[in-house]
Amino acid sequence: MSTQASRSAARTMLSPAVILLFVWMIVPLVLTLWFSFHRYNLLTPERYGFIWFQNYANFVTSPDFWGAIVNTLILVLGVLFITVVGGILIALLIDRPIWGQGPVRILVISPFFIMPPVAALVWKNMFFNPTNGLFAAAFHAIGLRPYDFLGQAPLASIIVIVAWQWLPFATLILLTALQSLSSEQLEAAEMDGAPPVKRFWYIVLPHLSRAITVVVLIQTIFLLGILVEILVTTNGGPGTQSTTLTFLVYKEALLNFDAGKAAAGGVVAVILANIVAIFLMRAIGKNLDA
């Protein structure tokens, strides 16, 4: 379908999206770069001035920086792990013939519709809260001392909340992928003498690899930006145990109102995000083309 006419039509039709996204990307980016070289604290505008890489140096050498990177990675990988593994298991489960497939599916995807602040508030207050939360009640019921989830295992708790929100997404994508697996392939493996576990390992899992990459790619993009959940539940603490890179930037931007340092942090975050992205896109590119 490539005549001159259709190609130029395509260019015309593509351009609004490309131009808009380009502007959306480049204008804030340039401004951010500009600010990142300036001392620019909203609260002390009189001290505005050009300071070369000072903001970057301050941001990167801050004692929380490396911890934040590690926390970011743990958060992203933790959520990915739970959602992918959980998603596969749930997809396998609801792919089978059961009564009430519709309602079950509705229940399973429900968390996807919940706005992040609500999810975080509900989990924090009604589940994790060590005195009034349901988990505390459950611990009580079996005679244990309540566990202070957000205090003792802040990052893990946040991972649980975020994973809960993203589990439906992973499940749905994996489920559609699972349903696209030809039953003949499974039957062939059965004829070939593969028992269920081996069929899963040798046939189903490889078939899902593409869907898994898609889940990983999309979720990573969203997960790198997780902020509200941290803000509502732990505020990055205790200490800096649940401080991620995004949260660190947030602290500069909305606690210190240091627009310059926040910009520098943002640029650092973008660079790191893009390293992750290139990594991912290499992988997914391979998988998407196949």
Partner: protein, 333 residues
């Protein structure tokens, strides 16, 4: 060994009886083709034998032992699927070796058998490719390879050629026949294409709506079809059926004549009509004759050199000894 006996085997999906109780014996080493129109239950029957579906009734014996309750892997059969069902993420080598790996054979033995099968099937140069990088015919061969290495008691094929193009189909058909000649293993082959059935089978089982219409060798079916269904199904182009007075005269409610048993002449013969489309194959020519008053269209095979054009009037003479007569119930007289 690979003698398979079906005794009163039936299959129901919910309330729908797809296969009414049916008996069939497949001898060791035979090439049996199940043929019939789409939806008649061929695949279902094959899958019952494979163990991929549970029988609703009856018993399946393999080499005399009751296999009705065995799982697909325990029956010692191998199956080649219509879609090939290759594992797309494995190399050809791993695909073929997969059943051996599952059986726990050691690596050296696996390699030996894979190499052997690859040689037989001309796949040696493709062992390291993925199925996605192969042509249709090559994929088909890989699927067969995967079946061969298991050295099964019988091979089951479910329309293995229907995804290939015409030329390849002919080639692969030959290859499978040759394979059968070489291995002498029982093969059960499902197709809806009567040409495939005729050319490949030792024994054809014609199915219609789950019932067996006739079992026999290709030539038996060709020469003495038991009823109208088989008569119409076997032979290409189709037999033409004549009803009415002319049929009564010949001694049946319906009379069938195959295109190759009609002589065409511009001037003489009992039946008269006009030529419609003519198909020149070089070797032969098929004329479609209309307006005979006997049947909507009568197909005639003539020599490749006969030249008649659209609208010409022709006369047809059936070979008297090659006429098939059927009674009101469609049964052969």
């Amino acid at each position: 060994m690979g003698q398979i006996t079906l005794s009163k085997v039936a299959k129901r999906f919910g309330d729908a009886e797809v296969i009414p109780p049916l008996d069939l014996i497949i001898d060791d080493g035979e090439f049996v083709v199940f043929v019939g129109p789409s939806g008649c239950g061929k695949s279902t029957l094959l899958r019952l034998i494979a163990g991929l579906e549970d029988t609703s009734d009856g018993r399946i014996l393999i080499d005399g032992k009751d296999a009705t309750a065995l799982g697909p892997a325990q029956r010692g059969l191998a199956m080649v699927f219509q879609s090939y069902a290759l594992y797309p993420h494995m190399s050809v080598r791993s695909n073929i070796a997969f059943p051996l790996k599952m059986a726990g054979l050691d690596k050296a033995e696996q390699d030996r058998r894979v190499e052997g099968a690859a040689k037989v099937l001309n796949l040696t140069n493709y062992l390291d490719r993925r199925p996605g990088q192969l042509s249709g015919g090559q994929r088909q061969r890989v699927a067969i390879g995967r079946a061969i290495v298991r050295e099964p008691a019988a091979f089951l094929f479910d329309e293995p050629l229907s995804n290939l193009d015409a030329a390849l189909r002919v080639g692969m058909r030959l290859e499978i026949s040759e394979l059968h000649e070489r291995l002498k293993t029982t093969m059960i082959y499902v197709t809806h294409d009567q040409v495939e059935a005729m050319t490949m089978a030792d024994k054809i089982v014609v199915l219609n709506a789950g019932r067996i219409e006739q079992v026999g060798s290709p030539l038996e079916l060709y020469r003495t079809p038991r009823n109208l269904f088989v008569a119409g199904f076997i032979g290409s182009p189709k037999m033409s059926f004549i009803t009415g007075a002319e049929a009564q005269k010949a001694g049946g409610a319906t009379v069938g004549v195959r295109p190759e048993h009609l002589r065409v002449s511009p001037s003489e013969g009992p039946w008269r009509g006009t030529v419609g489309v003519s198909e020149h194959l070089g070797s032969d020519t098929f004329f479609h004759v209309h307006d005979t008053g006997l049947a909507p269209v009568i197909t005639v095979r003539a020599d490749g050199e006969v030249a008649l054009s659209h609208g010409d009037t022709v006369h047809l003479t059936p070979q008297a000894d090659k006429i098939h007569r059927f009674d009101q119930n469609g049964l052969r007289i």
